[in-house]
Symmetry: C2
């Protein structure tokens, strides 16, 4: 009792709130510090990452084991006949069916259970690596089937869900891990239909995993990405709230075009609510993938096969790639046939559509950027930020941009271009430092398995100073780059393309660079005109291997000039009347920026395609699940 | 020098990062504690909330004032002739024009300035209450026009933006405030076009402010709402991150219908990108308001006029309401005429539209709820949450629901109905406590000006325990309520309407109530079927005066039952194949909930209409600005 042992340290093995299980992370971290978890009884829940079975010889039963499941006689009783053993085990398996059968999804599993009543398996020890998403590492869970009524096909497959109670023990000396769970009681098993489970095949490449966005968080990589993403999310709010910014939720649906040159999604109720069954037509058509996308995939997959053949690498990988390509070709044929048999119809051009009858009484779009709306709050409350989804209906295939992406936007009144550049740099460095400090476990995994250099790069980016060069200077550097032939020939006034940016940060500077004072034609109408009348107060922060992660600007606070710029861009003034109001009444110098959050996750995880860091990617031809 | 005065306390008057101004809050809070800000030189920026001018007699000039603006001779020099004074003041006003003219938006202001060269005004002292959004209170800013070159029409109007440098002084003894800024130099003035500025008229009611979402954060009420909203936002992330939840951004665009019975917005590129000029057609039509909405507004405004006439209250308010009504009637006529002259066209019904040609190759919608997608992450990583915009295309006018609302969703694996109820209650109480702790300034304002009871209610809700009753019990209570005649007659199986919920929490319990175990027909297909086969494991948290703020449930983890439920609801199974996968492979008991974030802001601010707490409201007929 506590009063008799005042010096006993209180157990830190707290279960997770709103669940009775103890996170694997808590057990593993505590066990490293040797805080005496050994001998404690805990409940652990998670999914099997890997497993093995070791058959064992029958051993004499304990005379009255407290760990025995109700109704189950222990195996290995030498002084009873075989028939007696079998008979004694019938209630044992009936218990399995009662406890687990209800949640066992597959009829096959139930059949198997029934058959086991007739023919019980020999006793085994199951070793499961259980992961619950709390850490990179899994916990070793040991189940003695002679004590706990489970069988191999039910508990061993990767992806099986297990909730078990047991005692924490020290493993035998030759093990890497310092603690394991000896199971006394299984509280739940969620089985796997192995033939249908996408992760049954080990080490599926990331691009194949994209077809299973609902399952892929169960992989070590996507789990790490998710934890890092969540951490960057909280870091963002922490940074801005600590610096006196207010969070403002800008509208997603808008009639205002913030860019003047983006492709947008229209939001409508004019196309009608489909009947429930009809709504699935699209989905069932080759999983909602357009022919165009499938053809792009075929191209990609063919080149993978070629590459694998060339490098003479892994045979299994090649076989898998070939099979994948074959399947995709079949799919393309199916979709093509189906497309042809459909009546080709088109919606009337928009000038014939009466948008007064649409839900909002006018044409409405998904927002491309929240900065204009955010300005109105900055011009009242000072420092504000927003964090939300932004949309672009670009049909190009890209590893850096998809249709739906999360963006962090900041806007500050009484502030100029330099302030926005400073804030963006500080925020970016804060994120880099945060990841290194808070996600060391995941970064270690990433360094080992995905990208060796990423930790070093984050360290470097968190601590070094960034070069600031004008657009003019960057053009000069690029024109001097005689060792490099660019596809787009550069002269003052043209936009910098990916190849230019890559040369600047990857080859020339070899570190992040901030480029400012762009030609006015390549930036949106609202960016502040510089005194030279040719450039505007915009900037971009370009990161090695990634490209532009932050775009920012001081926006035009002078009514007359903004008004002229709207005309120059041939934009509808009516649409921007509210925006002009901010200059008409109490105008103020202000600046801000947008950070592509998904790109930030990409560079923090060392991956190369945003489709691997966004939970459910939306891109051309892809919105299923 | 510092080395000579080692005991001098360091100044805590830090300017805001990324701006050189000191927040008004910092000055006012510090001044309460008397930390010796008096005598310090600071830069302050903000917008004029109120102002007054006091004319003063000419006084002898200081022999060589350091505060004088360059080139400006001080007024009141008795020993020079009038002509000399005027001549000496010409460069003074030229300075005004040079410094301020560029940013002065109105030609009228510039004309005024020019005219002042000919006829300089008598010297005045201007007293401005400047607010920068950092606090409810404003800072008194004193400008002596004899020293600092400004004139009344330029600086006094409500809404004028001022950035000024000066010295903090103690006001004369009879003042309420403990500190004020004596201006030495004006760095920026953003003037106001008074005839067009919506806030020129004092105390505009909240419903009128809704027409100016871009300007209304400059009012004390909407500024307080914004600060409280931002604080609740950070409280949300803090609560979940502290409890081991990972933040997951669920998709906004989706082909999966999470409810089975919601009206949805379709996302499309089929209606075409309008030409830039054309895109404004909707906007310019009566600011994008539909005739239906205008008619609803007329009804509302008529009843306001009636009410004002009846109560014989404020004449000004009545006059304003009458004028408002007149304008709205005119608007209705204009729109009606225009609508009639338009060709009536309609888009083809959806079964004729080839959605294979749409951006995503299928029909896609704005998400109604993120819980289904969130489940897939819970079934891999344990505790997860999401915070984002959700959409419903409901055409009804409501004070509690609009088309675009932000929702917090949580999902937990290895957890049951009770866990979700407990988590929702804890989270809700955490938010109440957070507001009381972190927003005392704003809550004081709200208690004084908006709602006297709200602080007390938050205190009560943060500390009391909530009754938990089953749907069956709630029906029994309601059937016994003979003192109350409900519009919808109640019997087991029908949904509880607002009037029922209001009776339960406002009249019967007089505190928050959690209702659970609903009839299966009134809840979505995915909610877990209880053993009685008639009810499901859903719950709602109902708050007095607001209604349902949280809905939650334990979701069905059993494959066969979920499959049957999908059929019962006549939903397309194809659409839910990915969702069924979560039960097919490693299924687990899990539960979660959604909290209507806008409703949370509503109840924290004591307001009654969500349109007053959402930055840019999107509702039927309203998506302008």
């Amino acid at each position: 009792m506590e009063s008799q042992e005042p010096n006993v340290t209180k157990s830190p093995l707290m279960p997770l709130m709103y669940s009775n299980r103890v996170p694997v992370k808590t057990i593993l971290e505590g066990s490293d510090a040797d805080t005496g978890f050994i001998g404690m009884t805990v409940v652990v829940g998670g999914w099997v990452r890997s497993s093995k079975e070791v058959r064992k010889e029958p051993v004499p039963p304990p005379s009255s084991s407290p760990q025995m499941a109700a109704g189950a006689a222990p195996l290995g009783t030498k002084d009873v006949s075989c028939v007696e053993i079998l008979q004694s085990r019938i209630p044992f398996f009936r218990t399995i069916i009662r406890v687990l059968g209800g949640s066992a999804s597959s009829p096959a599993v139930r059949q198997k259970l029934e058959s086991l009543i007739a023919k019980p398996p020999p006793p085994s020890t199951f070793f499961l690596q259980i992961n619950d998403g709390s850490s990179v590492s899994s916990l070793k869970v040991v189940i003695d089937s002679a004590i706990v009524p489970v069988f191999a096909g039910q508990i061993l497959p990767t992806g099986t869900c297990v909730l078990a109670q047991g005692v924490l023990e020290k493993p035998s000396a030759d093990e890497k891990q310092t603690i394991e769970l000896k199971v006394e009681k299984i509280l739940h098993v969620g089985t796997v239909e192995q033939d249908k489970y996408p992760l049954s095949r080990k080490r599926l490449p990331l691009d194949s995993l994209r077809d299973y966005p609902h399952i892929r968080p169960r992989t070590t990589t996507v789990a790490s990405v998710t934890r890092i993403r969540s951490s960057l999310d909280f870091a963002t709010h922490t940074f801005f709230q600590n610096h006196g910014f207010l969070h403002v939720q800008v509208p997603i649906i808008t009639a205002t075009d913030p860019e003047g040159f983006s492709e947008k999604f229209q939001v409508t109720t004019l196309l009608g609510e489909p009947s429930k069954k009809e709504s699935s037509i699209g989905v069932s058509d080759a999983d909602g993938v357009s022919l165009e996308t499938i053809k792009a995939a075929i191209k990609e997959k063919s080149s993978l096969v070629e590459q694998l053949e060339r490098t003479d690498s892994n045979r299994e990988a090649l076989a898998a790639a070939l099979q994948d390509l074959r399947k995709t070709n079949e799919l393309a044929k199916q979709v093509e046939t189906r497309e042809k048999s459909k009546p080709v119809t088109a919606v009337k051009p928009d000038h014939l559509v009466n948008f007064n009858a649409d839900f909002f009484g006018q044409q409405s779009y998904l927002t491309v950027s929240g900065r204009l709306h955010l300005e109105s709050y900055a011009c009242a409350l000072g420092h504000v930020y927003s964090f939300g989804p932004r949309f672009q209906a670009k049909k190009t295939e890209s590893t850096k941009h998809v249709a739906e992406m999360w963006t962090v936007e900041a806007e500050m009144a009484f502030s100029q271009l330099e302030d926005a550049m400073k804030c963006a740099e500080d925020y970016f460095k804060f994120l880099c430092r945060w990841i290194l400090d808070k996600c060391s476990d995941d970064m270690e995994f990433i360094s080992k398995r995905i990208n060796k250099t990423v930790t070093h790069r984050l360290e470097y980016m968190a601590s070094s100073s960034y070069d600031k060069i004008s657009y003019r200077e960057s053009v000069e550097i690029l024109r001097k780059a005689t060792d490099k032939a660019f596809e787009t020939q550069l002269q003052w006034g043209v936009p910098l393309t990916d190849e230019h940016l890559s040369y600047l940060v990857d080859d020339h500077y070899k570190r992040p660079v901030i480029i400012y004072d762009y030609p006015k034609a390549v930036k949106p109408f609202y960016v502040r005109l510089n005194d030279d009348g040719k450039t505007v107060a915009a900037f971009e922060m370009v990161i090695p291997q990634i490209g532009t992660v932050v775009t920012g600007s001081q926006n035009e606070e002078r009514f007359d000039i903004l008004n002229t710029r709207i005309k120059e861009f041939d934009l509808s003034k009516d649409q921007y009347e509210w925006y002009l109001d901010l200059r008409r009444h109490g105008t103020v110098e202000h600046s801000g920026f947008s950070l592509g959050f998904d790109l930030m996750v990409l560079l923090s995880t060392g991956l190369t395609d945003v489709r691997d860091v966004i939970p459910f990617t939306r891109s051309h031809g892809k919105a299923n699940s």
